[in-house]
């Protein structure tokens, strides 16, 4: 299990990194390496050149400015998990991260790497969608911004074009309370089904809601109809029943030895109910 040979460069600016990525046929960025290096070891990935993003200072850091939280793509998952600013500003992100891997993988693994990798069972994409995050992408033509919901396209497929780099995620202050729940074989594993739930209640009315399922299809699935019901009817027990009846169960396509599609389908309503209830019961109000 030794990787196939490749070349390696460690630029210090995004511009240089973009140049290097553009210069090689099969160049690929490496962030925390927690997904890429195993793929190299299995020779499932065979880049000609690895462009290391770890030496580009501008890609790391957490910064709140004008109500928008900007998290550099190279910020380690452990840093985000421990960040008070993130906890205040976007608790759902912290709730999701608690389910991602283990301390040593979070010490290296990055927020951007997880999003760029876009594993269909990963937690962060769902959290990003539920938080209406904006993904900031740099390419040879400059920077562009993509809504999280448009960024995640399919299994291991994102809006990133070859040669582009995800540079940051931008989050407005989280609307409402939230919870992130999942069923996985072991704690720290990718989820069989994950649910990110966010509910904003004001004066007894539900003013905003997000319900995003992960692990069930090529990419995370936003439950638009269920969200609409929540917003229309409020987060009452009756509304929740209606929400559970309106979940997009036919979106489930993941069917594997570890969990059949039918199993994932029956977990969804149960997890959604628990997630909404947990969100409503949670003390963390951003």
């Amino acid at each position: 299990m030794k990787p196939a040979p490749f070349d390696y460069e460690a630029p210090t600016t995004v511009a240089d990194a973009l140049k290097l990525l553009g210069s090689h046929e099969d160049a690929r960025p490496i962030a925390g390496g927690q997904s890429l290096v195993p793929m190299l070891a299995f020779r499932l990935a065979r880049p000609s050149l690895l462009v290391d993003l770890n030496r580009i200072p501008s890609l790391s850091g957490i910064e709140e400015k004008g109500g928008v939280l900007r998290i550099g793509a190279m910020t380690r998952q452990a840093k985000v998990l421990a960040s008070d600013v993130v906890k205040r500003h976007a608790p759902l992100l912290v709730q999701a991260l608690e389910n991602v891997g283990h301390p040593p993988t979070r010490a290296r693994g990055t927020i951007g790497g997880s999003c760029a990798h876009a594993d269909p069972a990963a937690e962060l994409p769902s959290a990003m969608i539920a938080l209406d995050a904006t993904m900031v992408i740099a390419g040879s033509g400059g920077e562009r911004r993509v809504r999280a919901d448009d960024f995640f396209i399919g299994a291991f497929e994102t809006a990133l074009q070859p040669g582009e780099i995800l540079v940051a995620l931008e989050l407005s202050k989280q609307q409402g309370v939230s919870a992130f729940l999942e069923v996985s074989a072991r704690k720290g594993d990718f989820g069989i089904v994950t649910v990110a739930a966010r509910v904003a209640v004001k004066d007894g009315r539900c003013i905003d809601a997000a319900l995003v399922l992960g692990g069930i299809a090529e990419r995370s699935v936003r439950c638009a109809e269920a969200e609409r019901i929540l917003k229309e009817q409020g987060a009452t027990p009756k509304a929740i029943d209606a929400v559970l009846a309106a979940l997009p169960l036919d979106a489930v396509t993941m069917d594997s030895r570890s969990a059949s599609a039918a199993h994932r389908r029956r977990l969804i309503p149960e997890l959604c109910r628990r997630a909404i209830e947990a969100a409503l019961a949670s003390q963390v109000t951003p």
Binding site: P5, P38, R43, V183, R186, A259, S260, H263
Partner: protein, 770 residues
Amino acid sequence: MIGQRVLRVEDKRFLRGEGRYVADIALPFMREAYVLRSPQPHARIVSFDASAALALEGVDAVYTAADLPASLTPIPCRIPTHGDMTPFLQYPLARDVVRFVGEPIAVIVASSRALAEDAAELVAIEFEPLPVVADAKAALDPATPKMYPPGNIATQWGFDLGKVDDAFAQADIVVEKSFSIQRHSAMPLETRGLIASYDKARSYLEVWGPTKVPHTNRAMLARMLGMRDGDIRFAEPDVGGSFGARGEFYPEDIFIPYFAIKLGKPIRWIEDRQEHFASINHSRECTFQVKASATKDGRITAFDVVLVADLGAYIRTHGDVVPSHAAASFPGPYAIRNYRVAATAALSNKTPSGTLRAPGMFEANFAREQIVDMLAEKLGMDRAEIRRRNLIKPDEMPWYVGTQSVNRPTLFDSGDFPGLFEESVSRFGWSTPLPKGEGPVRRGRGIVALVEPSGFGPFESARIEIDPAGFATIFTGASNQGQGHETMLPQVAAEVLGIAHDRFRVRHGDTAMIPYGGGSYASRTAVMGANAVHRAALAVKAKALAAAAQMLQAKEDELALDDGKVIVAANPSRFVTLAHIARVLTPGNAELVPAPKDFIKDDHDGLTGEVFLRAIPSGTAVFSVHMADIALDTGTGELKVERYCVSGDVGRAINPMIVEGQLVGGVVQGIGGALLEELAYDEDGNLQTGSFADYLLPSSHEVPRIEALVVEKAKSISNDLGVKGCGEIGISGVAAVLANAIAHALGTGARPTKLPLTTERLLDLVEPGS
């Protein structure tokens, strides 16, 4: 010393990172090997072209079966089997047909492992696929194409004891159920590996990495290559776990040494985890169809069992030992005289199989103990009570089950099963109410009783040497994969010799230092290895006392051993040190053996003792009770093991800390086998689990607090020390007790009959029909 919780002497080097495992050894001019394995489950090799690989700079050789001696036989079984296994044995490298994904086809030797892997990608092999036998069910279907001329069944056998049909006819109740146990494996944290180096001029082959049964394997290698035993040294380094799978005589154990001879340079092969999944012995895959009967008052009257095991593509060194043990010991700790079993060892295009800690027993317990619960349910009887009524009683010992496995009678030497059972039940609080489940959570409690045969022979060796500086060394024929032999064996010797345990060194697993050795399997080291050390220590003691008696002008029975000295018990100021005695007993020393006047005669032979112990074939039997409380989330199928208690009557615990460690570690390995681990194949014979991301081991989060109750009630009558093996009782009952607890939580009569118990399977039980 015996019986004390002595800290382990080997820990220091392991904790400091100074353990020396096989991958940590390097030799001058050493080359690295990569084994090119079959990607096909069943295929004819049509062509093989390694020219591009050989053209790569740094690649020394690409060896195939054609490079092995033409006279080379397949790898034989080392254990008696039911019937002739010759047609199903594996050649070290595939000749023209491959029969499982992972079967070795070629060996690439290069200056680095990475380069060898680069070269492997350049080897072009053309295969012609052959029909695949996907599993035992297919193997048993006469319509399935044959893998071998005799067919897809390796062997069938059975027992029919007592009057099974009469028992069923007269029974008050009968229950019936089928159970299936999934393929999984020992999965030690260290993968396998070997380094072989050959000194051609001196005809001396040295191999580092073998373990478990190095002497047996050396003899097999010598026979297969036509070499002398004395031309080969097998040396066991530190070993990162075996649990039954590592250290069998694998194909690599033949071709890596042979190609090192051929190349004329040392070769190191370190298996990677991906290879490990496909090439180490798999285990456990089998099904049981069980029928049992009982009387109204809960007396179990008969078991009727159909056992089918899927042994994979070849029969390996272990033969059919796993289903053989399961068939022989199925009745467990119960006094049952009517027992019938029909066993089949089927072949399929999957990795061959061998033992895994509690071979056959983990499987049989899973089936039998659920059947016992079903009888209790049907009778409306407490589940502890039905067991109580059927346990073999102390006055029935020794108990002969009436079966044999690998030519050994299934015989329980001693035991107070009811005694330990009651102690376990009351310690756990079997009848205390379970906490109520909250919301969707339902709680359940399970109990199982089991007996684990252990400590098999045939023999073990030990030599103890005290050198003229007074340092003591134990040479043991037992091998060590992490069990703590370097502490436990000195404790035994210390007890006899009055030398602190940490002043001994222990040498093991090296055929150059140890002429004969049995090795480590079937929880045998405490039984065989420790008893051998005990007797060797007694021999040293006798010698020391005899010499000291002369030196001190005292009678032997006035002397005692104390802190490295022989003292006159009544007057400890009169003493002679063991170092001094060792100097006196050094060959050539004139004291006590004056020079002969006429003819040469026997000289001193050092302050040493050497023994070769022969064991009774049936070994010892360890009784154990497992109890667990679980919480099942009926909304998600998630299972939490909340409490676990395992007890074992080990006869005598040489080091209770080590015994408890074996029990607790065994339980957690069993939790893996019960809930998480599976080597899964698709219908086409492709291995689906090739990484630790899909073959799941228990982590620190998945395991409960485990209470280990070690008792020393029933000394084994088969050995001086009265010890019984403790290595396997921890794992043996785990799947069974969790299944029983789950069925209890469900309370609907539904039962987990198929392992592993994934959230999906558990939720299926909660919502039948969904």
